[in-house]
């Protein structure tokens, strides 16, 4: 008996193929939707951790605008917060994962860029399923 053979594939286990099946318009819409969720999540995370004044300063320094470029964001965050940057990034990823229904494991090795990639793929899958 082939117990594991199933016609249903968990979209979160199949990140590679799904985004490619989006049309350019759908992909653009999905990119924009994810970007909006991410920027809002970064704003909420920074504001909730360090307050409105700090959030305003980071916005004026262009950090919030850099949210969509994980490398640039990480680099700017590190130049401001040093080791504390990783704590803020974890708060962002935790909130983002909660919004997208992705489990978060605080014990697992943390990679901000990879976490955002995973969240983006899940967001794309969900936009395709809508």
């Amino acid at each position: 008996m082939r117990v594991s053979d199933s016609s249903w594939i968990n979209p979160r286990d199949n990140f590679e193929s799904v985004p490619k099946s989006l049309s350019p318009d759908q992909r653009f819409a999905a990119e924009r939707a994810f970007s909006s969720v991410l920027v809002n999540t970064v704003r909420e995370a920074v504001g909730d951790a360090l307050g409105r004044n700090v959030l305003e300063i980071l916005t004026s320094k262009g950090l919030i605008d850099a949210s969509n470029n994980s490398k640039e964001f990480d680099s700017k965050l590190r130049s401001l917060f040093g080791n504390g940057a990783a704590v803020l990034e974890r708060i962002v990823v935790k909130d983002l994962n909660r919004k997208l229904g992705i489990p978060y494991d605080s014990e697992a090795r943390f990679d901000y860029e990879k976490s955002l990639e995973t969240a983006k793929e899940v967001s794309f899958v969900e936009s395709r399923l809508k």
Partner: protein, 98 residues
């Protein structure tokens, strides 16, 4: 204590970050350390030293209610500390900033 030192203490660990978010999102929260640990999905053991750091800094305060020691956000002190952090961050230049 300088803004930079305050910032290092506030963001000294992931648990401390979770505690800051919890209390800033629920500024009226009053709970035991056990209760606070549960609210952020951690064990009391993992949280107790982090709460102590925030008590020493003054962000949190502790008092006894009946048989329980409870912690809560010291809003005035929190505002004061975050103001110092904000003033410190204003002086830090980041890559690409003019």
């Amino acid at each position: 204590m300088s803004g930079s030192e305050i910032l290092s203490t506030l963001l000294g660990s992931e648990v401390r970050g979770d505690l800051l978010v919890l209390f800033h999102r629920n500024p009226g929260l009053i709970d035991t350390v056990d209760g606070v640990a549960r609210r952020i999905g951690r064990t009391t053991v993992a949280v107790i030293n982090e709460v102590r750091e925030l008590l020493e800094l003054g962000v949190l305060r502790q008092k006894r209610i009946g048989a329980f020691e409870v912690v809560s956000l010291d809003r005035a002190k929190d505002r004061e500390l975050l103001e110092s952090v904000a003033n410190h961050l204003k002086t830090v230049r980041i890559s690409g900033e003019k």
